[in-house]
Symmetry: C2
Amino acid sequence: MEEKFVLKDKFIKQAQEISRGAELLPGGINELAIKLQKSAESGKPIRVKLGMDPTRPDLHLGHTVVMKKLKKFQELGHTIVLLVGGATAMVGDPSGKSETRPALTKEQVEENAKTYFEQMSKVLDTSKAEVVNNADWLHPMQLTDLLKLASNVTVAQMMTRDDFAKRYAEGKPISIHEFFYPLMQAYDSVAIDADIELGGTDQRFNVLLGREIQSAYGKPNPQMVMLLPLIEGTDGLVKMSKTYPEHCISLTDSAKDMYGKLMSIPDTLIVKYFSLLTDISDAELKDIEERLKTENPRDIKMKLAFTITEEYNGTQEAENAQKEFINVVQNKGVPEDIPSFKLESAMNILDLLLELGFVTSKGEAKRLIAGGGVKINNEKVTDTAMTVDIDNLPKILQAGKRKFMELTNG
Amino acid sequence: MEEKFVLKDKFIKQAQEISRGAELLPGGINELAIKLQKSAESGKPIRVKLGMDPTRPDLHLGHTVVMKKLKKFQELGHTIVLLVGGATAMVGDPSGKSETRPALTKEQVEENAKTYFEQMSKVLDTSKAEVVNNADWLHPMQLTDLLKLASNVTVAQMMTRDDFAKRYAEGKPISIHEFFYPLMQAYDSVAIDADIELGGTDQRFNVLLGREIQSAYGKPNPQMVMLLPLIEGTDGLVKMSKTYPEHCISLTDSAKDMYGKLMSIPDTLIVKYFSLLTDISDAELKDIEERLKTENPRDIKMKLAFTITEEYNGTQEAENAQKEFINVVQNKGVPEDIPSFKLESAMNILDLLLELGFVTSKGEAKRLIAGGGVKINNEKVTDTAMTVDIDNLPKILQAGKRKFMELTNG
């Protein structure tokens, strides 16, 4: 007689904790809870897939959303499978139309993957993860294999993918080979026998296709997917991305930069950042939501900035960053230890800002001055044609809230 | 100084003769004439591609339209490249949805190709043709090669192909792998360096894609295409095809069958059949068109039937077939030598017709009787329940215009 499967509360609770802020498809919390319970009962760990794009190895806080989830699975004894997209990276975009898909050599892929893992190891134990490269099974595929793979998906189905649908409707070209990227990514799930795949909400189509292709290749319990929200950059408007470096917090940012940038986020992002970027418990998160109703959000934001800065730069660095932030921004003071620059001859203010690396273009320098963001000895600079002379040195040049330079004569 | 290219009348005339009844794309008669002249001047033969589907090796007159064109090229010293679609045949339809694309083994492909060539050699000199199998270059293709190939065509472009557009509009599924068949066929043109590709008008999209893919792979003067009309079956309604065997004339049909079937075509097809299925000159064709205005079309049709029957069955057989046709159909007589069948016991007429192989189903037998097409001793059978008894044997049973059997008692 077949035993009746009774889902235990313990695993529902586990599933809820793991998936905080995330979307589970297609079966929701219960499907994950069942997987967790069956794994516990059988002693067979769940295989958790994460695909990585080795063309962009520089990680920012946005990437840690998914890593935090992996860490939770890892803590429960499950297997993390980190998939390096070597095949696709090495193919690049054969049409040469996309700059975001440059073709990489095998060495570049490996080098990038190494950098990726180093940064990742700040969040989870990469030494315990399985690391695989899809070039191993995708590159040797021949015509017959690829046609078999492609036969499982229809054009109409592929065209439901947001970006394809949009481009097709707008009359913008979609090359046939682009259909293969989702197919290859989906086949990866077959190759590594994934039970659950994690991805950003922008990966919805691709990761769900993985489930379908696993079914087509005969996997009885195909993968479910966990979709993670994309986190906004510090401006609270667009998703965090290297494209907007001023709103992007890199894992390699200094404690001071990280703390300062986190303090600049809009209050509306506080809970989301706590929820997705820190390890605080659900109870603590609830407490924060309560406190936000009565307390000054700035104080709670400082706790957020400290928590995250501490995780990536250590307690000491985080404390220093916090101290300096209070001194400079809150007390409008000048930080204690600021670097100095020997001003050998008079210079135009735009050239000087550029020279010091405070801006990346003269246009940015002009905008900064126009916004009142540039001061010399605490007096706003208003004229972009101003010459900073070498009289009365040293002077303190300030750009924005957190960049200072002592201009000296030697 | 560059010499000016002057196109000679001789080659325009050659191009016109070769392409009688066909469509030349993209440059029309002149593009072909230029190719012919340049070939004559350089001594480098034109490479003429014809793709063959080795899944259906049984040839009928419809297939000879394109073969006649190949023959003309061959007579002018050009190179015929007969392409066996081994790769696609061996792949079949991996989705298993199409019955017209069964997967064949290498041996089946070779066996079918052999049969194909044997029949083809009735029209042209296959021993002088280059025979290639696309499995040789398509099967070893790997991911990178295939993506490169696919990157040259957009989804929108692929969807302009008639059948894809139609199915997409009707909400019928198109599997992604189906996009690869035209791509592979187009790549064949790269592999064999074709200068012109021949195909039926239903191949318009595929053969034109060959030109485009050649360009993408860097061929300076990519192939032009010659589209041949699909010839109607003997009913004059739908294209000749094995699907309607009663209207289809196989190259292996007996002289008698071939002659009889040709005599059954509607008068409106006479010129088209002469033009596309025989080797008569343009002058003769013109003469026939004139004669049709005044003479009995039957006499001209007899010339057509004789010409074609003679080509595939020899003069003697064609003469016999003609003699018998005149005797049986025109003089309403019974042919001189008819086969006999020993009728051992009384039989229902439907069963008897089926037993003799005059019909393939009782339904067909009933329709034949209803149409007055079945006679015993020249008297029409009207009752489908009739019993043919064994009294007064021998009797002559006639089905349709050309099937006779002497029923005997021993």
